[in-house]
């Protein structure tokens, strides 16, 4: 039994029950959930978009307000999944013991991890969508192709869910998440092209940034929002999917170790 963690996860369709549980809870807590996901990006958009936008004008042929809105949408999808996968999953795993209750039913750890990842991705979509609406209302979006960015929010959430679940499984307390947030989430937010093109960074920094997933999320979302032609969509989608797949296997191993002892 000692090699259980090395077996590939085998989730079943019942994983959707975990997703359903979270959706039902989210519906009850929709107010605080939205305020948390919505407030910060909209403040950035208003403050930096209107403020800096006056000086910057256009970046790569896109008005700065639109450029920034697209970056913030990608960052929001990243943040929503990351915080759900760390804080909420940790709460369900420890304080609430939700998973202990669920593991007494026919559901397994593989179902829990699959369900949680699908949920993180869904929440990225649900909580990022209002920002898209606000960006449209503020005049940042002029193209119907922006609607095609919506499924990308889901994909971005799926990509960031796995690492967040690994963090949750490794944490002794909520404070542990400061490492991940400070060392990965915030640097990605600043360096991966939310506020300016990655091409302005030194070459070595560009390599690092392109290994991390947020720049690929932005490379998909920004052209769709701005009505430009997508460059290398297959590559960017493949990177996000690869993170999701590796993240799922890693999260299954870590969460199993935490729950099945």
């Amino acid at each position: 039994m000692t090699n259980m963690g090395l077996v590939l996860p085998r989730p079943q369709a019942s994983a959707l029950k975990i997703w359903q549980r979270n959706l039902l809870v989210w519906r009850k807590l929709i107010g605080p959930s939205m305020a948390f996901s919505f407030g910060e990006p909209v403040i950035y958009l208003l403050g930096l978009g209107f403020g800096l936008g006056q000086f910057i004008g256009e970046v790569n042929g896109i008005p700065y307000f639109t450029f920034l809105a697209a970056g913030l949408l990608a960052a929001s999808a990243m943040n929503v999944a990351s915080f759900e996968g760390m804080f909420s999953v940790f709460t369900r795993m420890t304080h609430q013991q939700t998973y202990d209750a669920i593991l007494a039913t026919p559901l397994t750890v593989d179902d829990i991890v699959a369900g949680e990842m699908l949920w993180c991705a869904t929440k990225s979509l649900l909580n990022t969508l209002p920002i898209l609406v606000v960006a449209f209302l503020l005049g940042a979006i002029h193209n119907w192709s922006a609607l095609a960015a919506i499924p990308v929010f889901f994909l971005v959430g799926l990509c960031f869910a796995g690492p967040a679940l690994v963090m949750a499984a490794s944490a002794a307390s909520y404070d542990f998440f400061n490492y991940y947030t400070t060392l990965l989430i915030t640097p990605m937010f600043i360096f991966s092209g939310v506020f300016y093109p990655v091409a302005t960074l030194p070459a070595i920094a560009q390599v690092l940034v392109n290994i991390l997933p947020l720049s690929h999320a932005i490379a998909l979302i920004r052209p769709l929002v701005a009505g430009q032609v997508l460059a290398d969509p297959v590559l960017h989608i493949a990177v996000l999917l690869a993170y999701a797949a590796v993240g799922y296997v890693a999260a299954s191993i870590f969460i199993r170790r935490r729950l099945i002892r």
């Binding site: 807590l29 039913t105 026919p106 099945i260």
Partner: protein
């Protein structure tokens, strides 16, 4: 797996069940045969390995050694099927705090693949059975400890399980709730379900269990029926005295046919014959005593010692 005679219909059949955490062996190769029907007790001091054993039977703790079948199916290979036919009342209540009573039951039913419409009648029945009908729309923070516990039991029954595992079901509850829970557990027993119960309340074990094992330091110390164990291990008369050892031992020590056990400031004098003990007590009128018949707690103290366990 080779089956012991008469164990073909066992609900739990464990042989050499072992659990190690690193170098520490928590469960040291125990054999368990839990027959179908009735209530089986797993007793032991804190840290004896009760919860770990329960977690292994449930597949939440991988075995380090031994073989295990539950409901005739191999664990962990058939874990999904075993869980579909099992109910679990965990040691600490873990309902969803964001759901109401009835929402908790509906969601839990979904985990078993049961649709809310299918279980609506069953939920009403269970709420009635555990006297929670008027709390059906209450949130978890509005429930008392006793109500949460009853909800845990209702939730464990949502899939109409054949086998119900209860980990210290009445710990921390007031006497009224404990009696209510005991009555319900006896009804479940009477309806043919198999109960596996851990407790360190000996009165609870004596009331509910048909068979029990006492485990200590990961090993089975003894097993049998509560009555059988009392008759086997303990003298029929027990005199309990409160007081300082220096005052009690000279009076009750060294009486032929009796033995004296001290736990904290309580002294238990176990006697085959009552006469000699009472004669000694008459000579020491300052000592207040109670005379009672032997119970399971006496067996427990005798077999697991009286030092503090944490």
């Amino acid at each position: 797996m080779s089956l012991a005679p008469g164990s073909a219909d066992a609900v739990v059949l464990a042989r050499g069940l072992t659990k190690k955490y690193g170098e520490r062996t928590v469960v040291c190769g125990i054999d368990l045969t839990i027959p179908r029907g009735g209530c089986f007790g797993l007793l032991g001091p804190n840290g004896a390995g009760k919860t770990t054993t329960l977690r292994m039977i449930l597949g939440q703790a991988p075995m380090s050694g031994g073989t295990l079948s539950v409901l005739g199916l191999p664990m962990p290979a058939a874990i999904r099927e075993i869980h579909a036919r099992t109910g679990v009342v965990p040691q600490s209540d873990n309902q969803d705090p964001d759901f109401t009573v009835v929402e908790n039951l509906r969601m839990y039913a979904r985990y078993f693949g049961l649709r809310p419409a299918e279980v609506a009648g069953r939920i009403d029945e269970l709420l009635g059975f555990l006297e929670l009908t008027d709390r059906r729309d209450a949130r978890m923070r509005e429930l008392s400890g006793g109500m949460k516990r009853r909800l845990s039991i209702a939730r464990a029954l949502i899939n109409d399980p054949e086998f119900i595992m209860l980990d210290e079901p009445t710990t921390g509850l007031d006497p009224q709730v404990r009696h209510l829970i005991w009555t319900r557990l006896r009804k479940l027993k009477a309806s043919g379900k198999t109960l596996l119960l851990t407790t360190h309340y000996m009165d609870e074990a004596e009331r509910l269990c048909d068979q029990l094992v006492v485990i200590d330091r990961g090993r089975i110390v003894t097993q049998g029926s509560p009555r059988g164990l009392i008759d086997e291990h303990v003298e029929p008369h027990v005199i309990e005295v409160q007081g300082e050892t220096a005052h009690v031992v000279p009076v009750l020590g060294n009486i032929p046919g009796s033995r004296l056990l001290t736990v904290g400031e309580t002294h238990y004098c176990y006697a085959r014959e009552l006469g000699p003990v009472l004669a000694r007590l008459e000579s020491a009128p300052q000592l207040r005593y109670t005379h009672r018949t032997a119970n399971l707690e006496d067996v427990f103290l005798k077999l697991t010692g009286h030092e503090l366990r944490e």
